[in-house]
Structures are given as C-alpha cells and as structure tokens.
C-alpha cells in the first residue's frame, strides 16, 4: 500500500482518514476496503524512511491531528514506480511446476491435471461473470479490473489448450 498512499499524497497533503476515503472513492469496489490501522502503520513507516513528513495541526477542543506531506525523496520514489515497466503475471506459476514435475513423481497424469485446472479456471470465470453482472456499469475502475482478470483467464485457458495439444 506504500506507493498507493504516496500517489494520493502527491495530489494533496492529507491525514490518515482522508487517505482511507480517497482510496475508497478512487477504486470503488475494485480495492479491498482499506483498514485504518494498516494505513497508520504504513504512514509511520513512510515517515521513518523520509518519504513523507507529518505536521501536527491544532484543532480546537480536539486532539491534534497529523497531516502528511510528500517529501522530495518521496516524490522520487513515486516517479520511479510510475515510470518503470510493470511485471506481468508470471507464467512459471505453481501449476506449471506441477505440470512439469507430475510425470516424474508418478502421482498424477498431465491430462488429468490440465482438465482439473480448466474446470477451476472456468469456475473462476463464472465468479467474474457474476461479479461483472453485479457491478454498476458506471463503476469504471471495478469494471476494468474485472475485464482485465477475464482476459488473463482467457489467456490461461488458451495456454492449457496448447499444453493439452502438445501432450496428445
């Protein structure tokens, strides 16, 4: 969450609760609802690393609150994050390892592994279909996230098909 908070602070200084609200407003249902405790812990670490600076603001008849500012060092870290290419999903995943190693162990045959994995992906896809159906069409961020996940699953299924053809 570190970089997400830095990005929000690049827009404007804010206190912890405002950051929670900003995450919720920006991502809608596309982000697991952030826990305020977790936000404060992360802010504490960012401050310790010199990426943000906390300023106490006096409040009449309430305890002071801390407003957080992005530092120059924080901006550099954020810029680096935004500018560098992002890793895509790895293909050498757990399933691939099973597929390669299964015949050596004699525990499962590859065809059965692939079939089981296909059913699993389709069941995930069923979930995403239901999710998309329940998502408000104007929740663009959540819609894009779901569509992205669907396209990844589509690719996973095509890859399974390739594996199966290859084994036949």
């Amino acid at each position: 969450m570190r970089l997400h908070l830095l990005a929000l602070l690049a827009k404007e200084p804010a206190h912890g609760y405002e950051l929670k609200q900003a995450l919720e407003q920006t991502f809608g249902s596309a982000y697991p609802s952030p826990n305020i405790g977790q936000i404060y812990v992360t802010l504490g670490r960012l401050e310790k690393d010199g990426l943000i600076r906390a300023v106490d603001v006096e409040q009449s008849n309430r305890p002071n609150k801390k407003v957080y500012y992005l530092t120059a060092k924080g901006r550099d870290v954020l810029t680096l994050w935004v500018d560098e290419p992002t890793e895509g999903p790895r293909v050498r995943d757990e399933f691939f390892m099973k597929l390669v190693l299964a015949p050596l162990t004699g525990i499962a045959d590859r065809m059965a592994l692939i079939n089981r994995q296909r059913r699993h992906y389709l069941s995930l896809m069923g979930d995403l279909n239901a999710l998309l159906d329940e998502t408000e069409p104007d929740d663009r961020v959540a819609t894009l996230l779901i569509e992205g996940a669907m396209l990844h699953l589509q690719a996973d299924l095509e890859w399974l098909e390739r594996c199966q053809e290859d084994l036949a």
């Binding site: 249902s29 697991p32 296909r118 059913r119 979930d127 995403l128 279909n129 669907m150």
Partner: protein, 243 residues
C-alpha cells in the same frame, strides 16, 4: 429420473471424401439432461463443429446413435430431420446463415412460425429477443446491412425464436465486441435460468464460464467431461488480487 434431452451412443464421423479418411469424431457418448448448459471446448480441428452439426442433423453420422427427446434421430431422413429441427432445435452457426432477402424481423419470426407459433406469439418473441440483444432499431434492416456482430446476435435471436428443446451453437460470440458480448451473455444466462438446454462450442472463456458443465474434445474424443463448480463472489477488490 428425467429423460435426456439429447443422447449419443458411440457416435462416429469419418469424412471419406478426400485422399485419406478423416476421423473427425471417434466414439462420443454423451447424455444431456434438461436445462443443462454445456460448453464444448478443445483445440481447432478436434471435432467440435462436426459433433454439434451431427447433433442438429446437419451432418450425417458415420455410425452410432443420436437420440433427441427420447426418440432415435440418427436414422431419420433429411426431411424428417428438418421437421425435428423446426420443433426442437435452435442452431447458431459459426457463420450466421441468415436469409439474405428477408429483414431481421422476418429472419427471427420465421422459425417461430415454422415451429407452430401463432403470428402474435411469434411477434412477441421477436420483440423480446431483439430488445434483449439491443437490436430493436435494426428490425427492418436486411442481413447485408448489418455488422458481423449484429448478424451474430440476429442468428442467436432466430435460434431461440421457436423455444427449442435444445440450443446448439458453434462459436456464437466470435465476432462480438465486449459490449455486445455482454448483451449475449445476459440473454444466455437468462434463458438458461428459465430452463433452456444449451450446448455451445466456444473458445470464449466468458461464455464458457456461464456453463454448468464442460466437455473437452481432443482428436475427436472426449478427454474431459465434468461440472463447473459455482462458488460465492465478493467485491471485485476481494475476488481479484492486486499484486
């Protein structure tokens, strides 16, 4: 126990027109219960189209049996198959096959009328189906005036117009963009919920994700046939990991 809508016993298709015979389907045993939605998957050339064409009587089987609604069908003549299709089978082809010199409206109403619906019922079904597929304002167009995606949706509306016992479809979402796919997915899940039996060849994982059973073909044989588990969903953020 309910009886199967569709059943095959050791179904085989060999294309023997060419220099070497092609064994396209090699002994498929299949039982389809009423209301099931089956996705047929598998690599190109694995026999998916051949299989569903045989199920709809559009391609003659080489050997084996086909049963539709408890009646033996593989021994029927072509004209008897045509009659059976009118009453019981809706078919969406990979390449639409709309009647070129008829409007969208007529393309969709005709199968309902041929299936025995009154003109009023045929009109109501057509209005409903075109509306669900976002095609109402294309009702008076002819197929040539439609985009590929529109033709594909009209083909689906037509296939459902006679309220068939079973809907057979061969890659019906190949030409659709994401918005149109969403309309098609909605309609498919609605008719499925209302009890429509569906057997659909598809490479589209979103469509296959609606099915309750998947059959996977490889070299003309079924290598997997099983149920797709339904689970529970949360919000997008909870279901999908942000890395």
């Amino acid at each position: 126990m309910t009886h199967a809508v569709l059943k095959t016993v050791n179904l085989v298709k060999v294309y023997s027109g060419g220099a070497v015979p092609v064994h396209a389907v090699r002994g498929v045993d299949l039982v389809v219960e009423p209301g099931e939605f089956i996705a047929v998957m598998g690599p190109s050339g694995s026999g998916k189209s051949t299989l569903v064409h045989m199920l709809g009587g559009l391609d003659a089987r080489t050997s084996g049996e086909i049963w539709v609604d408890g009646k033996r069908a593989d021994t029927l003549s072509e004209s008897a198959w045509a009659l059976l299709r009118r009453k019981k089978i809706g078919f969406v082809f990979q390449f639409f096959n709309l009647v070129a010199n008829m409007t969208v409206t007529d393309n969709v109403e005709l199968p309902a009328l041929l299936g025995g619906a009154s003109p009023r019922v045929a009109r109501e079904r057509r209005e409903h189906l075109l509306g669900a597929l976002n095609l109402t304002d294309r009702a008076d167009a002819s197929p040539a005036q439609l985009s590929g995606g529109e033709q594909q949706r009209v083909a689906l509306a037509r296939a459902l117009a006679n309220e068939p016992s079973v809907l057979l479809a061969d890659e019906p979402t190949g030409n659709l963009d994401s918005r149109n796919t969403r309309d098609v997915l909605r309609l498919l899940s609605k008719v499925h919920k209302d009890g429509q039996t569906i057997i659909m060849v598809t490479h589209d994982a979103r469509v296959a994700g609606l099915a309750d059973r998947v059959i996977c073909l490889l070299d003309g044989e079924i290598v997997d046939d099983g149920r797709i588990a339904r689970r529970r969903t949360g919000t997008a953020g909870a279901v999908i990991d942000l890395r």
